[in-house]
């Protein structure tokens, strides 16, 4: 196997039911595990954007892009290395309120630029955004306090290179 690395695959699509299934089937057929996936609207009206994170070789990435772009409702797909994208993940931590005034926790939150977004009698919720490893670090630091719940989003990424979708849409028509 050629060198595997992390690729962010960005896919601009029409907004149709079933497209997620069609795209995930492309990874499934090639036995590739999807590390994370996010779907949202994009900068263009009516155009949606899928962001997949996968660990594959560049040759695989190129072929995957070919197969993705072949799908009727896909406008364009791109793959980028971590150097070529500015990316974030978001995480939420739910912790018992008894730890709220713990100084150590306060220090840890400052260190990670994490925010407390809700405080109730029984629990409080911390939000933090960053790279996977940054969130992993915060997770390790907060775990001793007993995480009542933890959830992390898929990667969202903006690319450094241009992705000229509006121009492409003109070309299609």
């Amino acid at each position: 196997m050629e060198n595997e690395r992390t690729y962010t695959i960005s896919v601009y699509t029409e907004n149709n039911i079933g497209l997620l299934n069609r795209l995930s089937a492309i990874f499934l057929k090639r036995h590739i595990n999807i590390e994370s996936m996010t779907v949202s609207k994009s900068e263009i009206d009516d155009v949606h954007r899928f962001t997949f994170v996968v660990n594959i070789s560049e040759a695989q990435a190129r072929k995957i892009i070919g197969q993705i772009e072949k799908q009727i409702e896909v406008i364009r797909a791109f793959y980028h290395t971590d150097d070529e994208v500015i990316y974030q993940e978001s995480a939420l931590f739910k912790i018992s309120t008894e730890h709220l005034y713990d100084e150590e926790i306060q220090d840890k939150l400052k260190f990670r630029r994490a925010n407390i977004i809700t405080i109730t009698e029984h629990y409080f919720v911390i939000e933090s955004s960053g790279s996977k490893s940054e969130i992993d670090k915060l997770y390790d630091r907060l775990k001793p306090y007993g995480l009542m719940q933890f959830v992390r989003s898929g990667r969202i990424a903006i690319t450094r290179p241009k992705m000229a979708i509006s121009e492409l849409l003109q070309e299609f028509n």
């Binding site: 079933g18 069609r22 009516d46 072929k63 070919g66 409702e73 299609f172 028509n173």
Partner: protein
């Protein structure tokens, strides 16, 4: 659909009529020029069948005996006509039975539209009777699919379905229609689809790619062409012939490319791949420029990729960008419809004749003739060979018949030895290797080109996978000729067991029924041949018959197909025994 802009419509607009969704489906089919469909009714598609009853003078529905047969018939029809084949089924098991044919059409790029009934919209997800998620199930094996839940979607979606199925690299499309959408009424208007925003059917031709390809071709000393079904799908046979004749390049075919170039054309050097001809396989690893035209470097064609044409510069003429560099790294990719790119490159090509190089193919042909072909076509042993049956069919057809083959030894023999004068004449399941394909595909082929002779060549294994379609033949009186080459084995698997599994014949021997009695049970004329002296007359009698005819030939039980590239070996390691 949420994006109404997805379909840009430029063609005719008809005046609206207020009709049911079911009737709209029929009208859409008629608008698309469909006059023949294959299918099987059931609960969730009954409203559409009710409309079919009313429109039966305009739209013929052929009742197959199994939904899989409907897809293969639609495929056979599409392969010989170049038109979109249509198959219809009900929800649940009706729909799931279509899947094998859809997968076959996907991998062999066959234009097909499948219409399935679905439970009422309000029952979706309730595990209703005969509910199945056919859109989910068919997603990986369709070019496109869509579930209609509202009658008003029907015209736009149907127009899009036909456009997608037939344009670019063709493929199967499945449209699932909930029962409420069939019975609801709405104002029907039909506009043909001519483009889809996110879909580019054909890549734009880049003149620089053409120039780079022409430069390599003109400088080549030992150029070789491997052509595939792209030439047939693009209806580029004339452009292809003009190119090879001007450049004088020996041209070999994949099994799906077979018949794009007449068998007797002097530059036709035979088949590449696992059971292809000796010369083109050997010389793949000696040519200096390999020109792939409308083919996809399937593993059955290339053998081991690490030792495939490594010495050659590779040019790939291809409509599907995803095929470029997928299996074989190309030096020059010429993207586009081969009908355009082959015509465009012709003026850039120098006239040439690579006589000495061509002679190398002929030299290998002599070796193959002595070691393989002679024994196949002119056997000295008692038992009948599959090859001599093909020889007799060639004698009777003069190369004008459509040959439909199933999957296995007989398929390789049919593709190796059948002679063709015209294109769209070889119908076989190439990529998926679907046993049971041939009998229903032959029905569709004969209905597609009724003026031509259609001969199905099938093994005794595959025949029994869709043998029930004899009922369709009997009911429709479609005069197909059926030849079963009976070796009482699943012959190709047995061959592998002999060569690679020390003759452990695990579950490959078949104890067969009396095929003649079965054919006669369907009132199909039938004959069995066991002796060489009876073969020619029996084939002639079959070919002369005005009606459907079944011919069983008892062939040698343990013959093998050679040449053969063992799985994982290099094309140049092709074996003759």
């Amino acid at each position: 659909m949420e994006t109404q802009t997805a379909v840009a419509s430029k063609a005719t607009t008809n005046k609206a009529v207020h009709i049911s969704g079911a009737e709209a489906v029929i009208k859409c089919l008629l608008e698309e020029g469909v006059d023949l469909i294959y299918g099987y009714p059931g609960g969730a598609i009954m409203p559409i069948y009710d409309e079919l009853y009313k429109y039966q003078d305009k739209l013929q529905h052929v009742l197959t005996r199994h939904e899989q047969g409907a897809t293969h018939s639609a495929q056979g029809f599409a392969r010989v006509t170049g038109k979109v084949g249509v198959a219809m089924a009900t929800s649940g098991p009706g729909a799931t039975n279509l899947i094998t044919g859809i997968a076959d059409a996907q991998i062999d790029s066959t234009p097909m539209v499948c219409i399935t009934g679905q439970v009422w919209k309000h029952l979706l997800g309730s595990d209703a009777f005969q509910e199945t998620d056919i859109v989910g199930i068919s997603t990986p094996v369709t070019k496109w699919n869509y579930q209609i839940t509202d009658a008003s979607e029907i015209p736009e979606v149907m127009a899009k379905a036909f456009y997608i199925a037939r344009s670019g690299r063709p493929g199967p499309v499945l449209i699932d229609i909930t029962k409420n959408a069939q019975v609801e009424t709405f104002d029907f208007e039909y506009k043909k689809c001519t483009s889809v925003r996110s879909y580019k059917a054909k890549p734009t031709v880049d003149v620089n790619q053409l120039k780079a390809a022409a430069k390599l071709i003109n400088a080549a000393k030992k150029p070789m062409i491997v052509f595939g079904q792209g030439v047939i799908l693009g209806e580029a046979e004339a452009e292809f012939k003009a190119l090879i004749e001007k450049a004088g390049i020996p041209s070999a075919w994949t099994i799906l490319g077979l018949s794009a170039l007449p068998t007797e054309h002097p530059l036709n050097v035979g088949m590449v791949g696992m059971h292809g001809n000796y010369g083109p396989n050997k010389l793949t690893n000696e040519c200096d420029v390999l020109i792939a035209i409308g083919m996809r470097f399937d593993d059955r064609v290339t053998g081991n990729l690490d030792s495939y044409a490594k010495q050659a510069k590779v040019i790939h003429f291809e409509i599907d960008p995803a095929e470029v560099d997928k299996n074989v790294k190309t030096d020059v990719a010429v993207l586009g419809d081969v009908k355009d790119t082959l015509a465009d490159i012709l003026p850039m090509i120098d006239a040439n004749s690579h006589t000495d190089w061509h002679q190398e193919f002929k030299d290998y042909d002599k070796i193959e003739f002595d070691k393989v072909i002679k024994g196949d076509l002119y056997p000295s042993k008692d038992g009948l060979t599959m090859g001599e049956v093909l020889k007799e069919i060639n004698n009777a057809s003069k190369g004008d018949a459509v040959i439909v083959s199933d999957v296995g030894q007989h398929q390789m023999i049919a593709c190796r030895y059948a002679k063709f004068n015209q294109s769209k004449s070889n119908v076989t399941s190439g990529g998926l290797g679907t046993m049971g394909f041939a009998l229903p595909a032959a029905i569709g082929a004969k209905m597609g080109v009724p003026q031509r002779e259609v001969v199905a060549i099938i093994g005794d294994g595959g025949y029994q996978m869709t043998i029930q379609e004899l009922g369709t033949i009997f009911q429709t009186k479609v005069p197909v000729k059926i030849v079963v080459l009976n070796n009482e084995f699943l012959g190709m698997v047995r061959q592998w067991q002999q060569l690679f599994f020390d003759k452990r014949y695990a579950s490959t021997e078949l104890i067969n029924p009396d095929f003649i009695t079965i054919a006669k049970g369907y009132h199909i004329e039938a004959k069995k041949v066991t002796k060489r002296e009876d073969l020619a007359a029996a084939v002639e009698e079959m070919m002369a018959s005005k009606d459907a005819y079944f011919l069983e030939v008892a062939v040698e039980k343990e013959d093998n197909v050679f040449p053969m590239i063992p799985s994982g070996a290099s094309v140049s390691d092709v074996r003759l025994s």
